[in-house]
Symmetry: C2
Subunit: 464 residues, 2 copies
């Protein structure tokens, strides 16, 4: 008997009307009276399950099936009945129920509500719950939606390296990667560690960004994107920070800040649209149980132009509200999440690009504006999250970039290859970074980054 | 003037006939007589470039343009003339040529052949050459082809963790990930390093496989795949090994070894077909300059069923040729590349699945066959490469798996979560790992893994 996935039934139940088929999945619940039983079976192919009807006269093992524990794996063969009047649009009337793998009463996911904190302690099982089933299905769809967006526009997917001997942003703690004996590393005469004996013959770390390498690729392909893991070793116990997360970093040549913003807006709308089309059951669940305003907010993003404001204008707006904020705003200060949320939620009520930040609070590679004070940076703020994208036009002028690096105490020789891009066929160019987990939080309404990563790595925790 | 990508011209030149447009890219060569010049411009949107014709009477800066150095970035506005009789199908007659970023005579990529060894030393520039343009465009297309294959079949893309506190395969050197001071780590009373003060409060490493975590996800979603970086700290200077590489690991539930093979064959054919359709110019170049038999070999894979042979049968075949081999074959020995190549190139002349290897040479999680000697493992061997895929049906029987682990000196308690999958709703399941770089080498004919990774990390080398 051909195995059918439950998702196929939801896609086109008419095609399966009155057909006999086999469905394999895991038991979410069983209830029975003396001769009639109902089983909720989920096979993970879509959010929703399938109602199995089993009768004492029709299957040979009625008594056994009635006692299946939650979590058991079973294969059911039966006939599909369409039930348009009922709560579920169809049900499978079993002629055979075969136990694939039993479960026990100790199965940690009984049919009741568990706290997300408890579920984090069983990350190997939590994808079997409604919430995490939805979260990781949305995650998968969003990842593909992003690839689809860029590939259909001719972008080249660039696998930039994870292990690096340079620190792109010059910021943040990095993880060291080593094969030296931690207890007894080789030493030089002066007692310092002799990294020439390490695997890469020098100190190496896990990258915090693939941008610099992506820029190299952009100067060959015109438009590229990265999509890979990124690392931060900052000790943090917030809901928003993980030590290992995924990032998307597109980069485009012959382009200015305006092009970067247009790309970011098009991508955000496209990905949201794709996930809304692909995962309607999952988003409906999140809208009902995680965040009541979710679907309306997402539709609002798709339907409206993003707002735009310069940092300087934004500061003028925010200063008037300084009594509301824990951190007071003044020109030159970095915007905090409270300010970002105020702008996007209260002032604009939709996503907003904030542009042209003070040079002093932004990275060395951002392009200097003519005012001598600001750089062509852009952050995208969205309701419910705050900053979701950070980008800029890059400094393409060799002498300007070298002067900036020297001013910041960086050694241009360490970046000879990055500067080469400005020596040979330099172009206006720019790009941005999208934190993938922030996007999934935005798409699902889930508030803790630990709940959108299948196996989160955070300060003090690398379980499973 | 709207900017047009060169790829669009190749896709549908008729639509642009006699139109005026702007094309931006990098100069590959310039040659000129007194009043007429030709420029080969490449914008990275496709493998091929665009011939620009510029005339002294038509553009204002003819003398300057004639002297542009190779590598300069320019924007050319002009009219497209279709030239079906000529070597290139169209050319752009310039009315304006604007220098975006100059180059110099020191530009390392002059119009001559460079050795791949030299080009590795300028990995930031080499994507601008024909060979690496093709290699990385194929890489991008193959990555998307793989995502497309799995997503269209309803697989969930699972982001398994990179940082891990467990060693899945129990094999191979791993990179340690740490934030401890290498010169002066905190010590316990007995002098050993106190990892409780490290970032994750215990020793952590970079993963060698996402399989165990993927199995967890499979028991919720039925079918998942990973696609992410993987690490090996083995000191190796071969053409086939990198310290950081990308791997695809699909995993399917309610499935046996036969299903795993069917999935692998379908995926390989689908990806090859996708890349042949998407990157014809790139593959044609590789076929001409890298590997003359490339296109024929790829077509052969798409058109034919993969062969199948058991390990035991394969050993019988190979033993007869033992005088040809450096390593002699006998039942129980692992197959070397020379044996694998002999099987796929000489015996079957097409891809071949070798199944049911001796348990002693395979990983602990592979399912024991009834003969008591072999496991339900499968390797896919392909001409020109040898092993490209390794997979198995997994041991789903709790007591069999525990006994195996104990026999191997592993502590089942360390794998409590992996064993939980066998306690609660266990199913027959299996999957495989595909080394992504091996696939790209197979698709392009390139022999060295350093030349299919944009910024390779190998023993002693983590440049850029």
């Amino acid at each position: 008997m051909e195995r059918v996935k439950i998702a196929e039934l939801y896609q086109n139940s008419e095609a399966f009307r009155a057909k006999t088929m086999t469905v394999c999945g895991w038991v979410r619940s069983v209830r029975d009276s003396k001769t009639l039983g109902f089983m909720d079976l989920n096979d993970g192919s879509c959010f929703k399950g399938l109602q199995i009807v089993f009768e004492a006269g029709k299957i040979s093992n009625f008594a056994e099936v009635s006692k299946y524990n939650v979590g058991a794996a079973v294969c059911v063969t039966g006939e599909l009945l369409l039930t348009p009047q009922a709560k579920q649009p169809f049900e499978l009337h079993a002629v055979s129920v075969v136990l694939e793998g039993a479960s026990t009463p100790e199965y940690p996911l009984q049919k009741k509500r568990h706290s997300v904190e408890y579920l984090r302690s069983i990350a190997h099982l939590r994808p079997r719950t409604n919430l995490f089933s939805a979260a990781f299905r949305v995650r998968s769809a969003a990842a593909y939606g992003i690839h689809k967006f860029f590939q259909e526009r001719g972008f080249i997917y660039a696998h930039t390296p994870l292990i690096t001997a340079s620190d792109c942003e010059g910021a943040g703690e990095m993880f060291r990667v080593t094969t030296l004996d931690p207890a007894n590393p080789p030493r030089k005469e002066d007692g310092s560690v002799d990294f020439s004996e390490d695997f890469f013959q020098k100190p190496a770390s896990l990258t915090v960004s693939g941008q610099l390498e992506a820029e190299c690729m952009t100067m060959a392909f015109g438009q590229v994107y990265t999509f890979g893991p990124t690392f931060r070793a900052e000790k943090s116990y917030t809901q928003r920070h993980a030590a290992e997360f995924w990032m998307i970093e597109p980069e485009i040549a012959f382009a200015e800040l305006e092009d970067v913003m247009q790309l970011a807006e098009a991508m955000m709308k496209d990905v949201i649209r794709y996930v809304m089309e692909t995962c309607p059951q999952d988003l409906a669940f999140c809208n009902q149980f995680v965040d009541k305003g979710l679907l309306e907010r997402l539709q609002n993003v798709v339907d409206n132009d993003f707002a735009r404001v310069t940092y300087t204008e934004a500061v003028e707006i925010l200063k008037k509200q300084n009594d509301k904020f824990a951190y007071k705003v003044d020109w030159g200060t970095d915007l905090q999440t409270e300010h970002e949320k105020y702008l996007t939620e209260q002032v604009y009520k939709r996503p907003v690009f904030v542009t042209n930040y003070p040079a002093a609070i932004k990275a060395f590679y951002m392009r200097a504006n003519e005012d001598g004070k600001t750089v062509a940076a852009v952050d995208l703020l969205v309701p419910g999250i705050g900053e979701i994208i950070g980008g800029s036009q890059r400094e393409e002028r060799l002498e300007v970039l070298e002067a900036k690096m020297q001013k910041l105490g960086m050694n241009p020789e360490d970046y000879w290859w990055y500067l080469d891009l400005r020596r040979y066929g330099s172009t206006r160019h720019g790009g941005y970074g999208l934190g993938f987990e922030r996007l999934i939080m935005y798409l699902t309404g889930i508030q803790n980054i630990r709940d959108v990563l299948p196996f989160p790595r955070t300060t003090g925790s690398a379980e499973f």
